[in-house]
């Protein structure tokens, strides 16, 4: 009995579904209309900053990952690069600096670098360095391709107190 009720319920649902389908049009005259949509080529970038980092002298830490997002419908894909915004690659405070240093950092020796994409513990430079190359091998639009970047810091044993900052530039160009 229960089985019959279930079958009946499914049958009603199916009938309602068929009834909800668009009904074929009545006989009428029709004409072809050409519709054209031109889709322009674009490239977009979003470079998120990592959250501020708090440290004490003689410490080593890394920031949370901050995403670099790129979208493009360029058939060849894109290249993502990074460089320092000015000629001073150090984190700067009124009374001290933390220099950009490549390689593994050590607590007690001041230094900072970046990791993400093709870069591992690389010191920022005044010239653009390639972070990632996406050649769009599938020949489809690249939508919101994310590269997670982390920023590594180490403070000296006698690091002066204060806020140390730097500005860096991420650039996306079509290949």
């Amino acid at each position: 009995m229960v089985y019959k009720k279930i079958i009946a319920g499914l049958g009603v649902a199916t009938a309602l579904g068929i009834a909800a389908l668009p009904v074929a049009g009545t006989f009428a005259e029709s004409a072809n209309v050409d519709v054209t949509v031109n889709v322009g080529a674009t490239i977009a970038i979003s470079a998120a900053s990592p959250a501020a980092v708090s440290m004490t002298p003689g410490q080593k830490t890394s920031s949370n990952a901050a995403n670099i997002t790129v979208s493009t419908n360029s058939a060849g894909g894109y290249k993502l690069t990074v460089k320092d915004a000015d000629t001073n690659t150090a984190l700067v405070n009124a009374n001290g600096t933390i220099p950009a240093v490549s390689g593994a950092l050590e607590a007690g020796t001041a230094g900072w670098n970046i990791t993400g994409g093709d870069l591992v513990n690389v010191a920022i430079s005044t010239e653009d360095q390639t972070v990632k190359t996406n050649t769009n091998s599938t020949h489809t639009a690249i939508a919101n391709d994310v590269t997670a970047m982390t920023y590594n810091f180490a403070t000296g044993d006698a690091q002066v107190t204060g806020e140390y900052k730097d500005t860096i530039v991420y650039t996306a160009t079509a290949l």
Binding site: A41, S74, G76, A172
Partner: protein, 307 residues
Amino acid sequence: MTKGRIKRVLAAFLVSVLSFGAIFINSNPVSAEDRPEIYLQVSPPTVQLGELKPGTTKTGDFLVQNIGTKDFDYKVYVVPFQVEGQEYNPVYSANNVYTQISKWITFDVDKGHLEPNGEQKVHYSIDIPADAPDGGEYASIMVETDSGNAENATIKTVSRVGIILYSHVGGVTNACGKILEKDAPSFLTQPPIFATSLVENCGNVDLTASYTLQVYPLFSNEEIYSTEETPDERITLPGTKRFNKISWDNAPAFGIYRVKQTIRFADKTEVLEKYVVICPIWLIIFIILFIGSIIFWLVMRHRSRKD
């Protein structure tokens, strides 16, 4: 309820769940919350300006758009564009005979402010001097914005996109290109199937190289993969070599295939055809163990017969 009836009920329930779920399979709504806050877009990303006539002015425009969820300020400027290495890493600071165009470009507006979903058309003029050098000229129009929400960040990031301009000044131009290398690996342990090449631009204007990859089964001429309709095209700048890799990312994990790469560059066409074997490592190990165990069994059987 009998077992048969239970099965029929479960089958009907499964069908109804799948039908209901199918309504949502292709639904992939992207909410505004998924978009980054500061998201800068430009169109187009590259411009082929064609021939620049000395003593004349050429104009153009591009679109700057805010596709994020927060407003931002932006600025516009132009830098030289060259490349470094076979991987074609961009260099925006080189100053040579091919980057003089970066000094000829001015904009009607060089900064602005955009609300979310806002856009601004920027016009540029290129005043080509009468003594402009013959040959290619390359620059990148940069559109740059702040992250907008990171004033207190340790590392403040700036988002920048480059619009690459390709052009050449008429006069003595030399279109010279060479195909230096072409290759494909004969054995792979996993996809993709790929082919590589290296071309050289030995002239003074940019040239476009076109790459096509076709893959056939071992005993057939019917393509199972082809990029003939949408070949890879790569621009090469004068005095540079460019490496390229063309691939079939979704190739099967096992099999023997005939791979054909066609390269068209300058007035040359070269073709590479090669057989490629794909076999996962675990399968190789399994085959070796299997053959080894058969040999072991045959040896043991021979010995026992001897005894």
